[in-house]
Each structure stands twice: as structure tokens, then as C-alpha cells.
């Protein structure tokens, strides 16, 4: 009886959110597949072309290169971000409460910056003539390493990945710290009594008990990496090169610079499916039996 009354109350509260979600998320998501079957410049009527956009995507070298770059970026960024986040979290745990708070604030600060600000900051850092990075390298006599970081195909994506990790590691660290705090101290005490060293403590106590947090962060890093756009777009000033495109920037250029909205929508649909499938697969693969303590 109480449950039925409560259910009746919930409906009016849920309905506005459902309506907003339907209008701004579900409706565009449903409309997109239609546009992906058309040729449209963004102005005027659409021209139905069936699966022509998808067929073109299969043979488009720029798309496959962008996909490759996206996977590269997602993998590199994910591994680097998670490793650094975990390292910082473990280090913070070993600090006193006060120092730990300061450390958390410093590490988290970049996460509060907007993507545009991060991009502008790192554009200046990477500037080959007067940027901070090359300036420091020249100061210590490493002129040969003072490269045009954003100008070479081999260094552009790693350079942008570093900027992205710098901006995002704060959130990862905070989540890892929260996960670490949940682990009871008694487990470490017991392991130490059994003669475990630091590495064994990490390997057999910390890592397994932190797995749930790690799993979620891996999935979030994967999704975030595959949706890469903002940093690449702003750093390139809105004109990304095909060799350093990621799928997001190629999609944007196809739509807004080349007026191929239908084709861009097809890319969007494909990306959506890929991200969904990869998320489900990684969720399945990474799920382990939960440890109750």
C-alpha cells in the first residue's frame, strides 16, 4: 500500500525529467539515423541517399586514420591517466591529513579549468619558439629535443594526450583516494603480520579491493577518449589536419567546414554504436566477483 502511494507520488516528479530527456536526447538520437541516410548541406531540403554515406565511410581513408588516432589517444590517455591517478592517490594516502588536503587541491585544480583554457595554456607551453617546454629544454642544453610538438604527426597526439591527462588526472586521483579510504586498515595490518612487503600489499590487498573503482574509471576513460574533440579542436584553431584528426574533429569538419551534414551524421551514428558496444564489452570483461568486506 505504502509502495503504491509512493509510486503515485514519483510519477509527477519524474515526468519533467523524462520530457526534457526525450526532447533533448532521445528525439535527436532518433532523428540522427534519418539524417545519416541523406545528403544535406545544412541549408534547404535533404536528399535521401540510402546507405551511400555508410558505404563511403567504409572506404574513406581519412575516417580510418581518424579512428586509429582516436584509439591511440584513448589508450595512451587511459593508461597514463589511470597510472598517474593511482600513483598520486597512493602518495596522498601516505601524507598527513593536512598535507594530503593541499596535495589533493593542487592535483585537482586543473580539472576545474575549461577545455578551451587548457588548450590555450598548452598551446603556449608547446609553442616551439617561445614556449615554456622548449625554453626549458634549451636552458638545460637539450636543444635537439626542442621540437615543434604540435607540428609533427608523430608528436601531436602524444602532446595533446599529455595536456588531456594533466587536466583530467585530478578527478581520477580523487576517485582513487575515495576508493583507497574504503579499504579497512586491518587488511594491511594482517598482511604485514604475514610478512607482506609494499609491493605485495599493493598487489594482493590494494589492487583487488580497488578494482570496482578502477573498472569504472577504465570505462569512463574509454568513453572519454573515444569522444575526443574539444582539446584537438581548440589546439588546432578549428582547422585540424587529416593526419592528426580524431573521429570527433573529422565529424565536425565534415559537417561545418565541408557542409556534409548527412555524412557527418552517419559518422556520429557509427561512433555511437562503437562506443556502446565497447562499453558493454569492457563492462563484461572487467566485471569480477565482488569482494565483500
Amino acid at each position: 500500500m505504502y509502495k503504491k502511494e509512493r509510486a503515485r507520488l514519483i510519477v509527477p516528479f519524474l515526468l519533467p525529467a523524462v520530457i526534457v530527456y526525450t526532447i533533448f536526447f532521445t528525439y535527436p538520437a532518433i532523428q540522427s539515423p534519418y539524417f545519416s541516410l541523406t545528403k544535406w548541406s545544412g541549408i534547404g531540403p535533404t536528399e535521401f541517399v540510402s546507405l551511400a554515406n555508410y558505404r563511403q565511410l567504409l572506404t574513406d581513408g581519412t575516417w580510418w586514420n581518424a579512428a586509429k588516432n582516436t584509439i591511440y589517444y584513448a589508450t595512451l590517455g587511459g593508461v597514463l591517466g589511470l597510472a598517474l591517478g593511482l600513483l598520486f592517490a597512493v602518495a596522498i594516502r601516505s601524507l598527513s591529513l593536512r598535507l594530503g588536503r593541499y596535495a589533493k587541491a593542487i592535483i585537482f585544480a586543473p580539472s576545474t579549468l575549461s577545455v578551451a583554457l587548457v588548450a590555450m595554456l598548452w598551446l603556449f607551453i608547446y609553442n616551439p619558439v617561445f614556449g615554456l617546454l622548449n625554453g626549458m629544454l634549451r636552458m638545460v642544453g637539450l636543444d635537439a629535443l626542442a621540437l615543434p610538438w604540435l607540428g609533427m604527426t608523430s608528436t601531436t597526439i602524444p602532446a595533446i594526450t599529455v595536456a588531456s591527462v594533466w587536466a583530467g588526472v585530478g578527478s581520477t586521483t580523487i576517485l582513487f583516494v575515495a576508493g583507497l579510504q574504503k579499504i579497512p586498515k586491518e587488511f594491511y595490518d594482517a598482511a604485514q603480520i604475514d610478512g607482506a612487503n609494499d609491493w605485495q600489499l599493493f598487489r594482493h590487498v590494494t589492487w583487488p579491493l580497488l578494482w570496482e573503482v578502477t573498472r569504472i574509471l577504465i570505462i569512463l576513460a574509454l568513453i572519454g577518449g573515444l569522444q575526443a574533440f574539444g582539446l584537438f579542436y581548440v589546439i588546432a584553431g578549428g582547422f585540424t589536419r587529416p593526419d592528426t584528426d580524431v573521429t570527433g574533429t573529422f565529424l565536425y569538419r565534415a559537417a561545418f567546414n565541408e557542409q556534409r551534414f548527412g555524412y557527418a551524421t552517419a559518422m556520429g551514428v557509427v561512433l555511437f554504436v562503437i562506443i556502446m558496444v565497447l562499453t558493454v564489452i569492457s563492462n563484461r570483461l572487467l566485471t569480477r566477483e565482488a569482494l565483500e568486506y
Binding site: 503504491k4 509510486a7 503515485r8 507520488l9 510519477v11 509527477p12 523524462v18 520530457i19 526525450t22 526532447i23 532521445t26 528525439y27 532518433i30 532523428q31 534519418y34 539524417f35 541523406t38 548541406s41 545544412g42 541549408i43 534547404g44 531540403p45 535533404t46 581519412t62 598551446l123 603556449f124 608547446y126 609553442n127 616551439p128 619558439v129 617561445f130 622548449n134 626542442a146 621540437l147 615543434p148 610538438w149 604540435l150 607540428g151 609533427m152 604527426t153 589546439i235 588546432a236 584553431g237 578549428g238 582547422f239 585540424t240 589536419r241 587529416p242 593526419d243 569538419r253 565534415a254 561545418f256 567546414n257 565541408e258 557542409q259 556534409r260
Partner: protein, 497 residues
């Protein structure tokens, strides 16, 4: 509490699914409909406006336009005296732009509004900033556009312009342009516009005037006068002289040139394009883009690519140039770390807050190539235009605001305060670059840089061209491969049905 029947879980799910199904039906029906028919689109005369198939009228519009069979505004009769529309009630018009507050275009619009309100005190002008192109297109489709904005049609972006004209979005300024200029008695508004700019506010195949000029941007070589004085160099007029100046600068430890090396936005294309125009004349390259010939058939194009490569091999571009974006490159110039920059005249307006007070600069025309058959007085540039939206509430008042914008007074204000190069005859040049107006006035022909009127129709093939030029700069293709791949790219475009 609420007069609802009790909903079971099944009923709630059904309600949600119904809402979603309604959304699906709306999506499918909405997507297949064309936008509601706007007012009648202008009927083009002459051949269909496939620009690549027809020549584009240029600096002598009446002669070349007649040859192309394209209508032009007829020579102006004695100017009709302006009769300002008597406006007594309070009305509002809107100027919308994608730029933000403090931007030089926004400042120009604000200043123009003050001037406009001296004659139209009861007309309120709302200035909307941050309206991206996508939002402007949406407003056009919803038939609620701002009066003035980037909603015109021009020869600088043929593909979008033709689409806008066919959709009936653009107000024809032809009759308004016959009115007397805002502040030049006895001269029509149209006749105060530079003859090099007049063709750009029209669209081939669509008789009329479809936009009004904001400012001209021309490509010139900006140089640091102090660095030139340091090595005793003078602005060169030939490529060989430029080479010699670059060598002097390099020997003195000064980077001769800086360039935007990171992005595929067309900046690096200008070198090949301009050298080609000096060697062959730009019309040959435009014939290549029209599919009438190829780059390989004219050895001068390979020579142009080799000349670009020669400069790179001689390290005349600042070290690390391939890692510089356009802002970084411009800052390198203004920090005195490179002596020259080949760029458009938006440079001063864009960088005005970053230019040191004691920085001394001027411009010179891109040098001629000895033995080349191209016109040495040819210049690449464009005109930034605004248009009046036909379906706005008060297009006539928007037109008056535009007429004020093209006054000598306002053009001079923009030259002096935001360093805009004027499109209006008789206006003053930006103070920092006294040679700018002289070069423009002496130019015999202006083509849109990047030949964008042709390339803009080529979609992804334009991107490929930009990319190949940037690869030439990064030494990722040889000049021979560059020519071959450019030809393949253009051929691939023309091979499409």
C-alpha cells in the same frame, strides 16, 4: 494529492513508450519535410551558377560580365538623393555576429549604431554576439533572422550563397545601392565601393547585390621595419630580391619569415598560390580547378612548389614553424623573432591589443617572379561581407544601418580604431601600415585567396589541398609528388557524378 488514477508499473512504462513513440513519429515526419516554403527565390538568369563551369567576373565587371552573360547592376544614373525613411515609432532591429564582446567587429557594429542613431534616434539596434553560423542557419530556417549579420550571399562562398539565395533568405540591395552614399554627396552607395570589391558582393548567375562590404582583407607581406633597418634591407619587388633580403636577415641571426605551420586552414597554400600567379597568372590555376587543364601540363606550377621548398631548405622560416598555430606565428612576428609574415590585413585588427607601442611595421606586395607572365599587380584577398535577411522584421532599416556602415566616417573610424582595411573609396588606411591602401589602389585584379570561390564548392577536396600544402611545408611530400597529388585530388572531384 494529484487527480491521477493509480498507475501500475506497466501503465507507467506504457506512458513513457507513448511519449517516445510520439517523438519517433515527429522525428520521421519532421525529417522528411522540406522547411516551409519561404518567399520566392530570385530567378537566376544565364547558365546555372556552377561556378567551375563559367568564368567569374572580376575587376572590370561590365566587360567580363558581359562576356560571361551574367547580369550586373546597370551603370548608375545620377544618384538619387537619400530620403531617410521617416521613422517615428520605436522599432528594434538586430545585428548578430558570432564574435564575442570586445572583438573588433563587434566594436565596429557598436560604433556604427551610435552613428546610425543620430539619424534614426527611435530605432533601437540590438547587437547579439556569439551567434555561431549554425545558430544563424537555424534562425533562417525558423524565419526569425536578425536584420543584419553573416546571412548575405557573396562570391566569397558560392556554395552557401547559392543555397541561401535559392531558399529566399537574402534581401536584394540593388535598389538601395542606387541611393546616395550616407556621407558622399552626389555619389551612389554602390559607386563608393572599390571596383575590386563590387563583384564580391554579387553572385554569378543571380542578378542583384546580395551583401555589403565590411572590410577588405588582402594578402601582403608584413615586415618589421626595425629589423629591416638593422640589416640595411629594403622591401623587395622581385623574388630574387626577397631571397637576398632573407639571406641578409638569416646571416644576422634573424629569422626571415614566420608562418602558421600546424593547421590545414589554407595559410600555407598562399605561398604556392601566389608564386603560381606570378609565374603563370592565377587564371591558369583557376582553369585547373575548373577541370579544364592540369597542374602537370604547366611547368610553372612545379617551379612554384620547388621555390617554396627552396625557401624551406634554406631555413628562411623560423625554427619550429611547423609547430606554430596562426596566433603563435603572429606573436612571433610581433615579438620581433621573425622579420616578415605573409598574411591577410586582418592581422592588425586581430593583434591590436598585443602589438607593442613601439613596433614599427609596414607591408609590401608579394614580389614578382622574373620571367613570369603573371600580372605583378594581381593581389589575393577577399571582402568580409554582411547581408540583410529578407525575412527579418525590418530589412529596410537594416539596409539603412548598412548604408551608414559603408559611410566614409565609419570606414575611417574602423581604419583608425580597429585597423580594418577599407573597401570604400576615399577612406583612410590603417595608420600602422601606410602602404596598404596604396598597394590595393594600384592592384589591377583581386582574386579571393585560396581561390575559395571555386574551392568552397569542392568540399573535402579543399581540405585535401590544404593538407597537401601543409605537407609540402613539413617536407612530407616532394614538390613533384605535391603536383601529382594535387592533380589527383582535383581530378577526383571532377570525376564525381
Amino acid at each position: 494529492m494529484f487527480p491521477l488514477r493509480r498507475l501500475t508499473r506497466r501503465q507507467f512504462v506504457a506512458l513513457g513508450m507513448t511519449a517516445m513513440a510520439a517523438g519517433v513519429l515527429q522525428a520521421c515526419s519532421g525529417g522528411s519535410q522540406a522547411p516551409p516554403a519561404p518567399s520566392a527565390a530570385p530567378t537566376p538568369t544565364g547558365p546555372p551558377a556552377t561556378l567551375i563551369a563559367q568564368p567569374f567576373q572580376q575587376a572590370t565587371p561590365t566587360a567580363t560580365a558581359a562576356a560571361a552573360g551574367v547580369s550586373q547592376p546597370t551603370p548608375q544614373p545620377a544618384a538619387v538623393s537619400a530620403k531617410p525613411t521617416p521613422v517615428t515609432q520605436t522599432l528594434e532591429i538586430e545585428f548578430a555576429i558570432e564574435r564575442g564582446e570586445g572583438d573588433h567587429y563587434v566594436l565596429s557594429a557598436q560604433e556604427n549604431t551610435k552613428h546610425f542613431n543620430e539619424r534614426y534616434p527611435s530605432v533601437k539596434v540590438k547587437i547579439t554576439t556569439g551567434q555561431k553560423t549554425e545558430a544563424a542557419k537555424l534562425r533562417l530556417q525558423e524565419h526569425k533572422p536578425a536584420e543584419i549579420g553573416n546571412t548575405g550571399a557573396s562570391a566569397t562562398n558560392i556554395a552557401d550563397s547559392i543555397a541561401a539565395l535559392k531558399a529566399g533568405y537574402v534581401y536584394n540591395l540593388q535598389d538601395a545601392m542606387k541611393q546616395e552614399s550616407w556621407d558622399v554627396p552626389g555619389k551612389s552607395w554602390y559607386d563608393t565601393i572599390s571596383p575590386l570589391v563590387q563583384p564580391l558582393i554579387q553572385v554569378p548567375g543571380y542578378p542583384g547585390v546580395w551583401s555589403f562590404p565590411n572590410n577588405v582583407t588582402t594578402l601582403n607581406v608584413y615586415y618589421n621595419k626595425k629589423l629591416f633597418d638593422k640589416v640595411g634591407a629594403q622591401p623587395p619587388t622581385t623574388w630574387a630580391e626577397l631571397d637576398a633580403v632573407c639571406k641578409k636577415l638569416k646571416d644576422a641571426g634573424i629569422a626571415p619569415f614566420t608562418v602558421d605551420g600546424t593547421s590545414a586552414d589554407g595559410y600555407m597554400d598562399w605561398w604556392f598560390d601566389t608564386l603560381s600567379s606570378r609565374i603563370h597568372g592565377n587564371e591558369v590555376y583557376r582553369d585547373v580547378l575548373r577541370g579544364k587543364t592540369t597542374l602537370a601540363e604547366h611547368p610553372g606550377f612545379l617551379k612554384a612548389a620547388q621555390m617554396v621548398r627552396d625557401f624551406i631548405d634554406k631555413e628562411y622560416f623560423v625554427k619550429g614553424y611547423s609547430g606554430l598555430d596562426f596566433t603563435g606565428s603572429q606573436m612571433v612576428f610581433y615579438q620581433g623573432q621573425a622579420a616578415m609574415l605573409y598574411v591577410g590585413s586582418w592581422l592588425l585588427g586581430e593583434m591590436r591589443k598585443a602589438i607593442p607601442d613601439d613596433f614599427s611595421e609596414d607591408v609590401f606586395r608579394f614580389p614578382m617572379v622574373t620571367g613570369g607572365t603573371g600580372d605583378p599587380k594581381h593581389i589575393f584577398g577577399t571582402d568580409n561581407t554582411y547581408g540583410i535577411a529578407k525575412e527579418s522584421q525590418h530589412p529596410e532599416l537594416g539596409t539603412e544601418w548598412a548604408r551608414c556602415y559603408n559611410s566614409i566616417a565609419m570606414t575611417n573610424w574602423r581604419s583608425a580604431n580597429v585597423s580594418h582595411q577599407p573597401a570604400i573609396l576615399g577612406a583612410e588606411p590603417p595608420t600602422k601600415t601606410p602602404s596598404l591602401n596604396k598597394i590595393f589602389a594600384e592592384s589591377t585584379k583581386m582574386d579571393i585567396y585560396n581561390n575559395a570561390d571555386l574551392y568552397s564548392q569542392m568540399g573535402e577536396h579543399f581540405t585535401t589541398s590544404n593538407d597537401l600544402n601543409s605537407k609540402l611545408f613539413r617536407k612530407e611530400v616532394t614538390p613533384e609528388d605535391f603536383i601529382k597529388k594535387m592533380d589527383e585530388n582535383i581530378k577526383a572531384y571532377h570525376a564525381k557524378p
